[in-house]
Structures are given as C-alpha cells and as structure tokens.
Amino acid sequence: MNRAVCITTWREFKANKVRIIMLTLLFLAPLVVFTMRRCTSPEALNEDLLSHPCMASLFTLLWAAGVIGREVQNGTIALVLARPISIATYVYSKWFAVAFAASLCAVEAVFCEHIISAVNSPALLWQTEFLTNSVERVLLCFGTAAFLILLSSLVSGLKDLALLAGFGFIFMTLATVGSMVHHLCAAANFDAELARGLAKSVEHIFVGIIYPYIPLSVFFSGDLFAVGSLISYSTLITCSLALAIKVLTRKEFSYAAD
C-alpha cells in the first residue's frame, strides 16, 4: 500500500467537478425520498427507513470509474511506475483508495438516513439495523472495487464503463435465453433439471461478480448459502486484483511517437 498513490487518487476525485456533483446527488436522493415518505405515510414511522445496501455499489462505481484507465490514457502511470513502486503495490493502493472512499460515503449515507428516521421517531435511534447495513455496505464496496479495478486496468480512459455495460448486457441476454429455454421445456413437457441448474449457476456467478453482497443476518444464522457467498466474495477480490496486476505487468507504457 502506498500512501502517496491513495492520497492522489482522492485528491484527483476532489478536483473533478462532475463527480463531486454526482456524489452529492447520490447522497441526497435517498434522503429526500425517505423524508418525503415519512411526511406522507404515517405507518412508515415505526421502521428505520434505510436505503438498500446496493447504494454502496453506486458509490464504488463513481469512485472507481477510470481510476487506472485514465492514468494509462494520460500517461501519468508511467511516471509513477518509474519510481520504486511495484505494480502490485500500485493496484492494491488504488483498490484500497477506491474501496475506502466509497465505504466512507456509503456509511455516511446510512448514518444520515438513520438520523433522519430517529428525528421523526426517537425510539428508532437505538435500533441496530443501520449498523448491520453499514457493515454490509463496506464489504460490498471492497468487493465491487476489486472487480471495477480489474475492468479499469483492462482499458484506457473511462472505457471500463462500457465494459461494465457489456458485462451487464451479456448477463441479461443469458438470463433471457435461459428463461426462454425454460418455458420451451415446460411447454414440451420435458424435464430439464440439468439445464435449469446450469442457468442458475451462471446467474449466481454473474451476480456474485457484479454484486458481491454478503447478507449478514443470514450469515450469522449459519446458513450454508452464506458460506458460499463468503467464498465467492474472497475469490472475486483475489482473482480480480491478481488479474489486474497481471494485465498491467504485461502492458507497455510508451512515450515514443506512434
């Protein structure tokens, strides 16, 4: 981990007005929605209105988009690697910087939501749901950040967003084809247990990559599903970072004219 790389990543984000505006919107939108709901529906008073943990993914995406790709595009990465910094250190630093910053934003958002709930009905202040929610978000940030770092190391500039969209598109296509096959089989009275199992596994893998969510409540109940999600989570982080390091090691950073 390199302090200078982390700090520069954060400062660069701060220097980008568009991202700051988007960050603010991402922060305010759920707050506004919940405040409105509280004001309009009285039955919402008894529960802590927290946004879905998937908000953490959005924060991570905002922080991670092009985090390595833009350095490759500008050529600044070469001057960093000209220093005694290994590519592995660079990748870990970027990952940590993104995940930490996104976690901070996501957790802060949950806290604000919780406070707003508590202002309306003070009894909610001592509910601990928001703590679980926060930890889930932090885990989600670190997992998502690893995958997005990998995408960013593959391409230059902000093209990792396109990669992500492509990834999502493939997932949707597969899901559609899967359900069509399922319907056809059902119509033909043909029992396709294997095909259905296969489709489910593919879906799990895709979801595990894009949305590495570990549901803590299930986890502590000792469900086998939770163990599975923990394994896929750690695999995602290890493989993504290792691949990103591999990709960057193979890349050439040329200053010569094309």
Binding site: S254, Y255, A257
Partner: protein, 327 residues
Amino acid sequence: MPELLDERPINAPDSPVRAGIFVQNITKTYKGGKVKALSALSLEIHPGEALGLVGPNGAGKTTLLSCLMGFLRIDSGSILIDGEVPDALTTRQLVGYLPERLTFDRWMTGRDYMQYHHELAGMPESTRKSDCEILLERVELPPSTWSMAVKKYSRGMLQRLGFAQALVGKPRYLLLDEPASGMDPSGVLIVRQLLKTLKQDGLTILLNSHQLDQIEKVCDRVAFLKEGSVNRIEDMHVKIEQEENLIIRWLAHTTELGVEDFGRIAQKECLNIAEINNDFARVSTASSAATVKLIKALVAADFPINEVRSEDTRLERLFINSSKEGS
C-alpha cells in the same frame, strides 16, 4: 549542490557487478513486429560520463530510453543497469527520467507534483518541503508559480518542472529525452548549466537532444543513432582534424585594404572562399592549423579583423555527414 547527491554506496571495484548501463544487442519492434524501432543496438554508458544521443526523427532514441526505463519490453538482447534489469525496484531508485512528452495530473500545483514524486521516490518526509523547493529553485521556476495548477503552466515551465521531477529521488543515472524542448533561451541556458553541474557532481547522464551545441558542451561521448542502431560513437575529448567553415568580419571603414586584398591573402590558406563581401567573408580551411595560419596572415597584413568564428560546430558537421552516409 550537495543536497542533490546520491549517497548510496557504489559497488566496490572488485565486485562482480559492473557499474554502468550495459545495452547489448537489443531489438524492439512495435505492432507485433511490423515497425522496427531498434535493431541489434549495443551501447555502454560508464559511471560518471555524459553520453549524448543524436539522430534523426524516428531513429529510435525515445524508444531506447523507454526500454532503459523498463516501460517497453525488448524483443531480444539485454539491458543491465548496475547489474540489474531496468524494471527492478532497486534500479528505479537509481534512475531519474524526463520523458519527451511530459504528462501531468493537471489539477496538481507544481509544488504538489514535486512532493508527490518525492514521496513516490521513497524520500523521507522530514526533508520533503525543503528538497522540493531547492529543486524548483534549481530549475529557476519562479516561486509565484509553485502554487499554480500545472494546467496553467506554459510548455517551457512544464519542462522545467519535469526536469526538477527527474532529480527528485537523488538519482545516480539521469535519462533525459529532449530536456530543452519548448524552453525559452534562458531555460536552455539553465538546462545547460544544470547539466554541467550535475555531471561535475558525478551523475551519469544520457542526453537525447536535438540541440547539438548543448550536447557538444556537456557530453563526453556522442552516439549517433540511425534506423534503430548505433551508427558511430564519437569521443568529444579526442581532437580530430577536419575541415572548418569560418565566418570572418573586418572593419572595412578603418582600412585601405579591400576585398581583393582579402582574397589574395586568404587564397593561400583556404580551401574555398564561399562568399566575400565588403566587410565579411565565408571561407573553409583544411584544419584548425590552417585556420591559425590564415588568421596570422591576415593580422600580419594589417587586416583589421574583429571577428572570426566557426560557422558550424564539430557535432553539426558529424551529424550532417552521418545523415548523408546512409542515404
């Protein structure tokens, strides 16, 4: 400039590792072998020397420097810097680099940029501020610009910042790709002066520059690159006899002697009189000894010469000759 000096121990003379940069038979192609940038290039850079790199555009100078930095992977051959490969972390501690086209995080200020690189280079935090300021002063960036965002810097100012950045890790080797490009005349002078001081301090310098006079004034040896390999290496300390082109001026209004007299005297010592005017002539002599004779003869004849200078430098003539050779 003791603050800038590399204090790391140098290999003992009997150590099996040879100090210096050793490039052996490297080839480098782009686009999967379609563009040949370097072919069978070999070069040695000895500790403490300044080696100039000269060659036409596209000769592969920048590619060579990028290979030495480990940014590009060579197809074959070997590069050793103090016995280590270029992309070893220990090597990177020894090498300072100024790229041809500088890249900056545009939002940073000049001072931020220096401090960022100071930290990346693993230098101690206690001296960070002072080290960076000393270097910014060395390249004569005015202090008022230190807190300015680099996106507001002019090309020459960026180049100065880049030069300061190359010195930030107290390098033992300095690889410079056209350090004076885009600089104003005073910048060019500063770079030249800085290079001389750094060389005196014992840094080993590889200087790729189109400014032949700069190379001539700073470098001990000059390598001529052409189509990806070293064409010839010239030792600038060895004097050679070669044709000299001179420009001679005299004070025409103070003398009875005229153009014909000049022609008569010059004829004997010159190979060729290219141009002759009322108070000015361009001639070429066979050697520096012939030049001395010519000047003596003119003085003896009471010719009021007030200026004799070389029309082109030794390196310029070599460069022109080496470009002609191949074609």
